[in-house]
């Protein structure tokens, strides 16, 4: 059980305007576990998504950010969804820390002439506008939604987005490097097109490859280090949770354009992806130079393809256990457990990096797990975070032993229709 005085991040207040089905919502949050109960489509997931916005300023769930704005607000020429929260990072020994007021605005402005009107975002810290990249890290949260099960076998794009949202919260400079990389990549790709059409010379590509390689090296090194740390934590703390024999491992597949080591074929036909070139990934200068060389070498190839064929926009990560790639060989239960283990590792890593436990947002965690596994995983999650927000459609799935320490909200159409505060001591 968690020591009550271990430093943790928590949200004291949550305030929503025009966010999904919440025209208006304002409520104080408990510092410990909160169970949000209600039938489907009452706003449970949206509440967690809103809290996650305060940590990543983006949504893992939404396809376009426009969809998080309340549909009635969208009828106005200027529609603004607002998520506000008071974040507290409690210090050691439970001293009262100053809350930081965070506000994220998602703004959609209709164009009078019609046409695509972009959605933009503003972030305010204690009432002052900040650049998104500078405000990241103010609030740290780990989100699980059932859609994330696709992380294991879905498109690589999902895994990259997950990595980016996870790293940006705690890795200083990561989000800025990502923005710089994307900008340089767009420039190089535009120039590739111009060269292919005879409007520019291939030699001019060089001036874009230097900033591209520098940003790429930062991003790839950060990804490599984070995945190595997660693997260490998976091995140390969550070794036996997946299949009682071998721990879950995440294998980084950086798009470095190096000849791949042969994949090891295992006894029962499974294939274990090759390990990434750690020596290169650990040396930023060598990595930058490698990328610069490869970019120069593959200009001809990239010209024909019309885009840049290496770099973090093509990275991937594989989930491996017992020598098997779970994307191909994992059972449904294994995939679910693997993603939950990844979340535990992420939370433990945040705690190491920030010296305080992150907020945990667990949507429908209890479903599809048998009672034993449910209790086992919950115990780990309550260890990994202090403020743990869980949702369920079926309150009876929540283990009785945690009940009196947990605040319970019954949610109906975006309203808390009944609430029971925790009666017992904290976890």
């Amino acid at each position: 059980m968690t020591e009550p005085h271990e430093p943790a991040m928590y949200l004291a207040q949550l305030h929503l305007e025009n966010f999904r089905l919440f025209a208006y919502f304002a409520r104080a949050l408990p510092r410990g576990p909160l169970l949000i109960v209600g039938p489907n489509a009452q706003g449970k997931t949206s509440l967690l998504e809103a809290v996650a916005y305060l940590a990543t300023f983006s949504s893992f769930v939404a396809r376009t950010e426009r969809e998080v704005i309340h549909f009635l607000a969208l009828r106005e020429p200027l529609a603004v969804a607002r998520v506000r929260g008071a974040c507290v990072r409690s210090a050691l020994g439970n001293t009262a820390a100053e809350p930081i007021r965070l506000e994220v605005r998602i703004i959609h402005q209709a164009r009078p002439q019609g046409g695509a009107s972009p959605t933009r975002k503003e972030v305010l810290v204690n009432g002052v506008r900040r650049k998104l990249v500078d405000a990241l890290g103010t609030c740290t949260a780990v989100l699980f939604v059932p859609q994330m099960l696709r992380l294991v076998d879905g498109a690589p794009e999902l895994r990259r987005r997950f990595l980016n949202q996870s790293l940006a919260q705690v890795e200083p400079g990561y989000a800025a490097a990502l923005a710089a990389y994307n900008r340089a990549l767009t420039q190089r790709n535009a120039l590739l097109k111009a060269v292919a059409e005879g409007r520019a010379r291939a030699a001019d590509l060089r001036v874009w490859e230097r900033p591209l390689a520098e940003a790429a090296a930062r991003i790839m090194q950060a990804r490599h280090r984070a995945l190595a740390a997660w693997n260490r934590l998976l091995l140390q703390r969550y070794r036996d949770l997946l299949n009682r024999t071998e721990p879950l491992r995440l294998v980084y597949r950086p798009a470095l354009d190096v000849p791949e080591a042969p994949t090891q074929t295992r006894l029962f036909g499974g294939e274990e992806p090759a390990e990434p070139p750690a020596a290169l990934l650990n040396d930023r200068q060598a990595l930058t130079q490698h990328l610069l060389d490869r970019l120069a070498q593959r200009r001809e190839l990239d010209l024909r393809r019309g885009n840049t064929g290496l770099g973090p926009q093509r990275d991937d990560v594989r989930f491996v256990a017992g020598g098997l790639d779970l994307a191909a060989y994992g059972s449904r239960g294994q995939v679910r457990t693997a993603v939950l283990l990844l979340k535990l590792a992420q939370a433990a890593w945040y705690t190491e990096r920030t010296n305080s436990k992150p907020i945990l947002l667990l949507d429908d965690l209890l479903a599809e797990l048998d009672a034993d596994r449910r209790e086992e995983l919950l115990a780990h999650f309550f260890q990994a975070g202090e403020q743990v927000l869980l949702t369920t459609t079926d309150e009876s799935m929540y283990p009785a032993r945690y009940r009196d320490r947990t605040e319970v909200w019954h949610l109906q159409q975006g309203q808390v229709v009944a609430a029971q505060p925790a009666s017992g001591p904290g976890l």
């Binding site: 340089a184 420039q187 111009a194 409007r199 001019d204």
Partner: protein, 206 residues
Amino acid sequence: MPVPTSALPRPVRALIEAFERLPGIGPKSAARLALYLLRAPEEVTQALRDALAHLHRDVTYCQRCFHFTEADQPLCAICRDPQRDQTTICVVEDPLDVVALERTGLYTGVYHVLHGVLSPIEGVGPEDLRIRELEQRVQEGGVQEVILATNPSLEGDATAAYLVQRLKPLGVRVTRLAQGLPTGGDLEYADQTTLMRALLGRQELG
């Protein structure tokens, strides 16, 4: 939103639409400006009319540095000034950057205005900037130092890198403006990128 045809006479609508094309002017400001001019005394509109009429007729580019100059002068005031050090050229993106550097009162050399930065997204390549003319100035001799003062953005940096590539073989000293914290700024409020650049460009004291 366009003004309904019935609401105002055509000349007023035409003026509103002309204002709306200007950067930073929305439909409301455009309408306010147009109505102001309609009611303003004759000398206000006359002054504006004259200024606009002279703008293109009487302003052209300096033949040496491509800063603005008056039409009857092939060279701009800075290039004509015998006090200026012709061996040092400061390369900037835009004429407004000349204005900013001149305000320091510190720089005694001359300028070269590129009129933009490399940006393949917008279709701007080296031949769209005054880069060939800069190379010519350096090749003609007498230039000892070229200071690259493009903005510290991705495109400004890439343009500077391109210019280094072109100018270094000509045997001239090439320098770049120092990058870092603004004076009077507060470390706490500096953004990450600025702080990182300042840290990398730190200088030894004493």
